[in-house]
């Protein structure tokens, strides 16, 4: 069963009651919330996602609710909780859906040390993954959103999950987070893409989420082999430039973007070496998305694989 097969009422009842058991890639999340914007966001962006059964194992129990204080009535807030523990301070009520998305990312980055986790977007073509590790503001999500609207498959917009044994990448297809100007950029670039209503004045500015393409959700169990590691940089007015990056530099920069590299010790090091070794490594500077797509398609064609 998928989310869109539930009536609006049934969806709301599950969210407000026992929880909606949502499958996202390798994880099952039991989400509870009576907040309208959360239900609306899930109905819109998670329509194609499968639901888990009552008897299935759930990885994360999350709830979005009003905090128990006077702010219930005045300048309302929303509190994210993970199995009854609240890891963050309450945020404005209007931010509930982005908080849900950030909360789910937090669940994975804090509790899944069976993977080496890199803060990166991951897209796939012909079985090979392109990993875009980058700090916020580098345009990784914009590039990722554009590529997945042009035939690349979305694995994740935020978290690269690297297997500690075989270094493959596990998909975590979830809505792509777009910030500030990139919302308008993607609307123009991909008019058919479904975007949630932008929420202003969040911690990250104005935020909207893009619904993942159907094939990304359908193929949520198909892993990809590491193919390219590319550090993107959006620079207004710049030419499209793809420059090779030495593997040693790539390794250090990639390690910088890991959530649990030092926690995993030698195993983390080995996995990272394997990923860098089997990937072609670049820096990518861009301002025009159409040109960027052409550059990526050319890259996918010219790369020789055994």
């Amino acid at each position: 069963m998928i989310v869109s097969e539930l009536s609006r009422e049934e969806l709301n009842n599950r969210l407000a009651g026992p929880g909606l058991r949502l499958r996202t890639g390798a994880f099952v999340t039991c989400a509870q919330s009576s907040i309208g914007s959360v239900a609306a966001g899930i109905r819109q962006l998670y329509a194609d996602y499968r639901l888990a059964e009552e008897s299935d194992f759930c990885d994360f129990y999350v709830r979005l609710a009003l905090p128990r204080n006077l702010r219930r009535w005045w300048r309302r807030q929303v509190l994210f909780s993970f199995d009854d523990h609240a890891p963050f301070a309450p945020l404005p009520y209007a931010h509930a859906f982005p908080v849900f998305e950030w909360g789910l990312n937090w669940c994975v980055s804090q509790h899944c040390h069976n993977y080496l986790i890199v803060h990166a977007a991951v897209v796939e073509k012909s079985g090979y993954a392109a990993i875009f590790p980058a700090p916020p503001g580098s345009g990784k999500s914009t590039l990722c959103a554009a590529l997945v609207n042009q035939g690349w498959r979305l694995l994740s917009d935020e978290l690269a999950l690297i297997d500690l044994v075989d270094s493959t990448l596990t998909p975590l297809p979830r809505p792509v987070s777009l910030k500030n100007q990139s919302i308008e950029v993607i609307r123009r670039f991909a008019p058919d893409a479904v975007l949630s209503r932008p929420v202003a004045d969040t911690l990250k500015g104005t935020v909207a989420h893009m619904k993942p393409p159907l094939n990304a959700v359908r193929r949520e169990a198909d892993r990809a082999r590491p193919g390219w590691i590319i550090f993107p940089r959006y620079e207004a007015g710049s030419a499209t430039k793809l420059g090779a990056l030495p593997k040693s530099d790539t390794f250090m920069k990639l390690a910088d973007n890991c959530f649990n590299y030092s926690l995993l010790g030698a195993r983390g090091f080995d996995a990272l070496v394997e990923v860098v070794d089997s990937s072609d490594c670049f820096e990518f500077c861009y301002s025009d998305l159409d040109e960027a797509i052409l550059a990526f398609d050319a890259l996918a064609k010219t790369t020789q694989r055994e």
């Binding site: 008897s55 194992f57 300048r75 509790h111 899944c112 069976n114 010790g265």
Partner: protein, 373 residues
């Protein structure tokens, strides 16, 4: 047949700790609850260790969480050794004997109970007379007092058995420096001189830890006389592990009760033995149980014991909704008040709790004002 296998949901974690081989019989819903209870009790890596020891095959869903918890615990195990070495080096010139306590001690002594244990800080014990030079040496090597107001600072220094927590400015690791194992204001004073004199060097790094009986008694008083019940079950598992490990040596059982009397910790020992046997079925020689019962003041009067059973048996459950009943929050609150009652005389207690309550109200108001600004 079915009845035999059926496990009560609120007992899942305790059952798993007691009889880990039963883990293979769990269905997915039971694993779901077990992982949540174990995570909340800080015992997920412990369960992972049991699964590994018995080479049990379990479903991939829960297995991923066990692997993740193990990775974190392994990392902390190595980090604690490294950090302990740094602390010992920083204090080498002071000439003070430095005794590592609790979790760090279990790791340094290579005890089985350290496997899969998670840590929040490191605790050490030093002689009170050397406290100023220990603090100075630590500050010189990068540990600084965690920011506190004048009242809290004074509270620690005048009334407590430890300095205000110190944090390393680069590594962020937290260190508690104790000069005793119970507060100054408590009516019991386990002698730090005796504890330090009996301490033993560890094999690996040559750092010092408490002698086996003292380590067990400290663990007991920490659990039953401190107000921190969030990890009550984890601390009980520590006690179980210490008793099983040290208990292989007969001398340990011979020394235990007399030492508890000497250190004024017979009541804590009574509770420890009562609840490890009741909850985790730890094997304890009957003569030891009998000997504790005979110590004056160790066994509480029957009525009080009934009340304490009601409180402790609740507080020692995993702090998760699936393992609690309607009275659990009240039980925990009463134990919190009891811990303060044991910690200081009534006039100080009233003053202290009032200060705390007023401060909390003040901080909440300030946060609200800031949020609105």
């Amino acid at each position: 047949m079915r009845l035999q296998r059926q496990l009560s949901v609120n007992e899942l974690l305790v059952t798993a700790l007691r009889s880990p081989w039963k883990l293979v019989t769990l269905n997915m819903s039971e694993w779901d609850v077990l992982v949540r209870q174990a995570r909340n009790a800080n015992l997920l890596a412990r369960i992972a260790g049991l699964v590994e020891d018995l080479t049990l095959t379990i479903h991939p869903g829960p297995r991923a969480h066990l692997e993740s918890a193990s990775a974190l615990a392994e990392r902390q195990y190595a980090a604690v050794q490294w950090e302990a070495d740094k602390i010992a080096r920083a204090l080498a010139d002071t000439g003070a004997p430095v005794i590592f306590l609790k979790g760090a001690a279990y790791v340094l002594a290579g005890l089985p109970v350290a496997q899969g244990r998670v840590f929040s800080d490191i605790d050490i014990l030093v002689p009170k007379s050397l406290l100023p030079c220990v603090e100075a040496a630590l500050m010189l090597h990068g540990w600084a007092g965690v920011e506190q107001d004048a009242y809290d600072n004074n509270y620690y220094r005048r009334w407590m058995h430890e300095l205000p927590p110190m944090e390393h400015i680069k590594r962020g690791s937290v260190l508690d420096v104790h000069h005793a194992i119970l507060p100054e204001t408590s009516d019991r004073h386990p002698s730090s001189e005796k504890l330090i004199a009996a301490s033993v060097p560890t094999e690996s790094l040559g750092l010092r830890v408490l002698a086996p009986v003292d380590m067990m008694l400290h663990s007991a008083t920490h659990l039953f006389d401190d107000g921190e019940w969030d990890h009550g079950l984890r601390d009980l598992v520590d006690l179980d592990g210490l008793l099983r490990h040290f208990g292989r040596d007969e001398l340990f059982w011979k020394e235990l009760v007399p030492r508890a009397v000497q250190l004024e910790l017979a009541r804590s020992l009574f509770y420890a033995l009562r609840y490890v046997t009741r909850i985790l079925r730890t094997p304890i020689p009957t003569e030891v149980i009998r000997a504790v019962d005979l110590v004056h003041g160790a066994r509480p009067p029957d009525l009080l014991l009934m009340l304490m059973d009601a409180l402790f048996l609740r507080a020692l459950r995993p702090s998760h909704r699936t393992a609690q009943d309607a009275l659990t929050p009240f039980a925990r609150w009463l134990l919190y008040v009891r811990a303060h009652w044991l910690r200081m005389p009534p006039h100080l207690l009233i003053y202290h709790l009032l200060r705390k309550a007023l401060k909390r109200a003040h901080v909440t108001k300030k946060q609200d004002d800031q949020a609105l600004a």
